[in-house]
Symmetry: none
Subunit: 224 residues, 4 copies
DNA sequence: GATGAATGAGGTTTCATTCAT
DNA sequence: TATGAATGAAACCTCATTCAT
């Protein structure tokens, strides 16, 4: 039972016309913008309305509350996560494996970078136990994780040197990717170069998937 | 391990006596408890006071606001993080390396498990850009990360197979450990057994530090 | 004489319509009324709202706080003070001088009488160092004082028998007028008849401006 | 039934010893000091206590509330006002009259200058209708006013050129003196020199009492 | 469709005031 | 005497939310 993300409808059930849709869109954009500036929980209906140059009453014509508006944003965003699964589902044969590992890492970081603010909300809400957001997160990461587990299970090495249970290995790797991506700026602030982080993650991923250290692969840079 | 970090003082500058300290303590405990049940941002002074069987006025005698009370909790907690650094600074020679890797992972997960609620707040506040919490987090994780980087740099392998920059490798590994620890229940919910997660992380860590796959080490369990 | 000085606007920047203006007006009137009954500092938003049959929330839609509402009242009032300047700028030739002096005094007392409560606030706030109110007071009294100084300087006598500096003389006289007007009831309470106070002030004023004792003027009542 | 201003006693009826009296005194001084900095109505028990380095509880051992403490200060101050009456009761014969008028004016301004802050409270409270303070004010100004009326009635001129009723004339003059003294700084701010204000007031006073313009008196400075 | 207006509800704070030590 | 502590009470202020236009 999907929350009407696709089927637009005003709160009182009517189907909005062109002007209405534009207003709704404007409200969503302002919500997204506020999200980049303020902690989620402190975004008020009034703020969104003001930013959009409307009144709170108008907001309530399209959304039940702030949370629901954010949920719409998150939903749109999560659809984009399938892209990550595709990257993982790439070519892991010897010639291409390093390339693939690298592009997975880069893909993760880029994806997070683009959708940082909304993603942050999803993370937080999930950790706080909000079920609707949790659902979103699982749905999004599920595709990548499962794909990665399959790749590991059926992939190059008989078994991953990182462990027996492909799902556990996949979960661990995705955790690494997600956490680093989320804290990207933290590391820069710490003096570590982003490229070094990318390199390291790619090596770990590559090793865990193929069982070969990157150094043994022609296409990869030598260590040191 | 007494709760008072440094010199206690009431909001209006007095030095609290025994009774006052007890009240303060009670308030802290109730705050901590509420933290496990409710999203941080929605904890109200009134809630804490009610839970502690006092009035808001009393709360304000000891803390400026909810945030500050939580900060006190977080501070205490962060001091305990030095324990993790000690674990990392263990014996990585061939005979003991697997054991060490395992205990680091277990340590991380246990530490998080014990202080889940407060730690969650620190994470969230940090991501939302709260500088005071960010400071705490950096301080706490700094010790482990630096130690791990040193171990990697001077450790078994000439260079880690996971990369050139020891800090980047350490940062990546700590990210993995922190994220998995934080999402522990998420994985269980996903049907992955905790032991499998521990095993996988230990393997990755062990390989990155020593350059040896765990399988090659006598003390480690065989893969599969 | 409409109450809206300048362009009205609600606290959140909207331009109020008819209904809104009416509400605002009602709030102002109630504020004014309370002012006659209670010391300024103890007027609470809740009081005004209650009196106006609204909720505090509504009050805050039109004013930032009680002080600001009073400031609006004061501003309107101060504009009326220009009337006093006109009285002072009357005919001081021998035939009319006594009449003019009398009407200035009467004007002062009447003006104060009409706006006693608001004016009291202005006085108090000014003495307490509130700059906004001080500004109002200076602006209001400035017109009369300057006008009086000009009349004295260019007037009947070469120099006022009350002193060399016309501004100082004017300031002194205005002080007298303002203070007596403000303490009107105090004198009655003391057993002095108001007419006697008016008479005395007119005589002093007349003498200081024209240099002639009122007794020497045909139009004035004889002393005793 | 005088409020125990002379007879010291703690709130609970006991007679304070040396230490107690010192504390009480300290509290009074701090109250006085705060009076010069803050609007009366916003002085809190807590402020006084803090300033005096004590706790609110201690304050309540000596005073029932802030108002009462201020009342004590005012009472002490009012006693000093009898000095003004003495000045008025000086020598008004031709040789000394100018001197006397001048010293009355100077005396007024000096007295106000010294006790500005407390006096301000008395004024305000009186205007706000506070009966206890009103009583103080009347008591204080009564002596000067009555004395001045007597001097006018029995003095040099048969009748004052300023009017028939000596009390009305006296009231008017005292009003002038009080208001100018209270607003002293206002005039300076306005660019008028204090000496000019003194001069003008002395001339008016002199004329009203003696019926002679100051210029006709040998001891006075010529106009211009 | 949009939005002026109004407001119930609720948390935040601040004090005055009181005890018991 | 002095003062740590506690707290009732009251005002403040801010929103979410709802209507009627």
């Amino acid at each position: 039972m999907p929350r009407d993300s696709g089927t637009l409808a005003t709160t009182d059930g009517r189907v909005p016309g062109r002007r209405g849709r534009a207003t709704r869109q404007r409200l969503l954009e302002c919500t997204s913008e506020l999200l980049t500036q303020t902690p989620w929980r402190s975004i008020k209906v009034i703020d969104i309305a003001r930013q959009a140059g409307t009144s709170p009453a108008t907001f309530y014509q399209y959304f039940e509350n702030v949370e629901q508006a954010i949920l719409v944003l998150a939903e749109e965003l999560m659809e984009g996560a399938s892209l990550l699964a595709e990257l993982v589902d790439g070519d892991w044969t010897e010639d291409a494996s390093w390339e693939t590992a690298s592009s997975v890492v880069t893909g993760f970081m880029g994806y997070w970078e683009t959708n940082r603010s909304v993603f942050r909300v999803v993370e937080l809400a999930t950790e706080e136990g909000d079920l609707r957001f949790q659902g979103l997160r699982v749905r999004a990461l599920n595709a990548v994780t499962v794909t990665l587990a399959r790749v590991i299970g059926a992939g190059g090495a008989e078994t991953s040197p990182a462990g027996t249970d492909p799902m556990a290995v996949a979960g661990t790797l995705i955790s690494m990717l997600a956490h680093v991506a989320a804290h990207q700026y933290g590391f820069e602030f710490w003096g570590i170069r982003t490229t070094a982080m990318v390199d390291t993650q790619a090596r770990v991923l590559h090793w865990a998937v193929t069982g070969r250290a990157a150094a043994e692969v022609a296409s990869a840079p030598a260590v040191g």
